[in-house]
Amino acid sequence: MTGYTATVTVRLKEGVLDPEAETTRRALERLGFELEGFRSAERFEIDLEAQDETAAQQRAEEMTERLLANPTIHDYDIDVDQR
């Protein structure tokens, strides 16, 4: 078994309104910053032991599908690195 860290990034699907990001964007503009767009995402880091990288990826995917992301509104990607 090898130790891996799976980094899961969950973001809203394109076209789904993100009111908190919109509020934050306006705050940045009030501070005088110029920006073209602003999106937010959630990042989860999962430490796990697995047979190989594929197995680690698969388990992180199961966790994401089951709980961390809601497929109705979210897309996600997962990066697996050996610890």
Binding site: P19, E20, T23, L67, I73
Partner: protein, 224 residues
């Protein structure tokens, strides 16, 4: 009928719901989620509140509670299941109903009265009303914006699965009358079958004359 009102850590409309049901002659009991569904239950309410502190997403944690497997099984057998507010978020997260309820367009918690237009008066939840009737109920949520893919929403509309839409006092569905930015102003939907439903507004908070009105009573009559 005996209705189970399921309590999760952080539910806070559970007792109100039991009282509202009692006021229309429905016997209801509080059921702690870890205790499982009693065998003799023939109706379920997932009440409002802030289960698990709304961590991750409102309703996400409670939706994974083992009692939800029992709720899904009993729902398949045909008992009525209603999710209100946080219960609606739980219902969608548990795939009892389609779509998701997410952050209000205002990015704020909103506690106010809204008008709802009855879209389909042929469900157990709406048969006390007329199609197009306008009722007034309170909302109290930060994550009540109904979100779903365009194609799925069209399918829901074609199948008459929208229970209520936010509207003005005259029944007009306008952007101004939509309190949270819900897609197509959807306030409540049914599951695959119409005895399963969720809604963000609180019918139990409008079920007695003493608390301001009885417009919500018709929804709860599904359990009579």
């Amino acid at each position: 009928m005996s209705v189970a009102v399921i309590q999760f850590g952080g539910s806070n409309c559970d007792r109100d719901t039991v009282q509202a049901l009692a006021s229309i002659g429905v016997s209801a009991e509080l059921v702690w989620h870890e205790d499982g569904l009693p065998a003799d239950v023939d109706g379920v309410v997932l009440p409002g509140g802030f289960s698990y502190g709304d961590f991750l997403r409102a309703g996400a944690m409670a939706a994974q509670s083992p009692i939800m497997d029992e709720v899904r099984e009993r729902a398949r057998e045909g008992i009525p299941v209603l999710g209100i507010c946080n219960g609606a978020q739980i219902g969608c997260e548990a795939s009892l109903t389609p779509g998701a309820f997410t952050t209000n367009e205002s990015a704020r918690f909103q506690c106010e009265h809204v008008y709802l237009r009855v879209e389909n008066a042929e469900t157990p939840w709406t048969r006390q009303y007329d199609e197009g009737e306008v009722i007034e109920l309170p909302i109290a949520h930060g994550e009540g914006r109904f979100e779903i893919g365009d194609e799925r929403l069209e399918a829901l509309e074609a199948d008459d699965r929208i229970l209520f839409r936010y509207c003005d006092a005259e029944g007009n569905v306008t952007p101004e009358a939509n309190p949270n930015g819900s897609k197509h102003a959807v306030a409540g939907v049914t599951g695959d079958r119409d005895h399963i439903a969720v809604m963000m507004p609180h019918p139990e908070r409008m079920s007695l004359p003493d608390i301001g009105g009885t417009d919500g009573r018709g929804v709860l009559e599904a359990f009579v």
